[in-house]
Symmetry: C2
Subunit: 180 residues, 2 copies
Amino acid sequence: MALSHTILAVLSRESLSGYDISKRFEESVSCYWQASQQQIYRELGKMESQGWVTHETVLQAGKPDKKIYSITDVGHGELARWFVEPTEPTPIREDLLVKVLAAPFVSIDSLRQELQRRRQLHLEKLIDYQAMAAAYQAMPHPPKTERFRYLTLRRGLRYEQDWIDWCDEVLDFLKQDSPE
Amino acid sequence: MALSHTILAVLSRESLSGYDISKRFEESVSCYWQASQQQIYRELGKMESQGWVTHETVLQAGKPDKKIYSITDVGHGELARWFVEPTEPTPIREDLLVKVLAAPFVSIDSLRQELQRRRQLHLEKLIDYQAMAAAYQAMPHPPKTERFRYLTLRRGLRYEQDWIDWCDEVLDFLKQDSPE
DNA sequence: TTGACATACTCAACAATTTGAGTATACCTT
DNA sequence: AAGGTATACTCAAATTGTTGAGTATGTCAA
C-alpha cells in the first residue's frame, strides 16, 4: 500500500485537495509513481477512515466545493513506521523487452520500428525532465524539500537516458546482426 | 494482458510445463517480467480455453504428472497481432523514491542506510547478470534466439548499473548537503 | 453559441496481482 | 527418522489498478 505513503509524503509538505494531489502526481511524482484521480480519491477515503488524514470542506465561488486534506499525527507516525521498513526493488514488467524476446519468431522489422518509436518517447520525457532540472538549477537557494525532490528527478533523467542508450544499442545491433 | 504474451514468447522456443515456464521466468525473463507460479498456472488455463496453447499430460515415475504446454497456430497469430501494437513505457512505482521525497520530514539518516542496502542489492543483481553475459560471450556462434535474449539481458545490466550510479550520486549529495 | 478545457468529486464494474493454504511424491542430508 | 528442498499443480480471498459513466460550474476561443 505504498500509494497511501506517497500521498502522505506529498501532504507532509502542504495540505491539498484530492484534485491537487492528482496534479502534483502528474507534475512531479510521475517519474516514479503514477496514480489516477480515481485511485487517489479512493485512497484518501481509506486513509481518512484510518485517521491518517483529515479534511476540511472549502466552499468556492464559481467552482465546486473542495476537500482540503491534511496529514494527522497518526499519519505522520505511519509514514515514519513505513519509512524504516526495507524496500525491495520494484518488479519490472516491460512489454518492449518481451517483444525483443519474441522478435525472432515474429518480425525483426516491426521491432526496429517499435524501438524507434520508443526512443522518441523517452527522448521527449528526457527533454521535459531537463527543463525541470534547469528550473531547479536556476534557484539561488533551493529549500530542503526542493533539493530532495531534485534527487528524484535525477533518477527520472537517468532512467530516460538509459532507455535511449539501450534503444540505440539494440538498433545498432540489428543493423549488424546477420540473419540466420 | 501481456503476461500471456510473455508466455507465448517463451513457448515459441520450446514446449514446457507450467513449472518449467515459471523457472524460465526466474532465470532469464525476470529482469523485465516477473510472475509467480500461481499467475502462470492460471494464465495457462485461460490461454488454453482461448485456444492459444494446448497441453499433453506426461506421466512421470517418482514425480507428479506434468502438463507440457505448446503454442498453437492461433497462439502464434495472437502473438503476431500483439507484436505490432505500440507499447507504452511501463508506469513505474518506486518506494525508494517516495522515501527520498519524504526524507526531509522523517529521517535522512534512515534514508542513507536504505540507499546503501539498495545499492548492495543492485550490485548483487549486476554481478549475476555479468556472469550471464560472460556465459553468452563465451559461445562461439550463438543462435538467433540467444542473440535476442542477450539484448534483453543488456537492458537488465544497464538498469542495475544505473541504479547503483544513482545511489552513489545521492549518497554523495547527502554527504555534502548542509542541513537547513 | 457551441465546444473544448479546467475544476472537483462520486460510484460501479471489471481486470490483474498478491498472498497463503492445500495436495502429493521423492530425494538427500543430518 | 526427521527436516529441508525440489517437483508439480489447484483453489480462494483480499487488495490493487483500470475503465468509464455521472454530476456540476466556469472560462475562453472559434
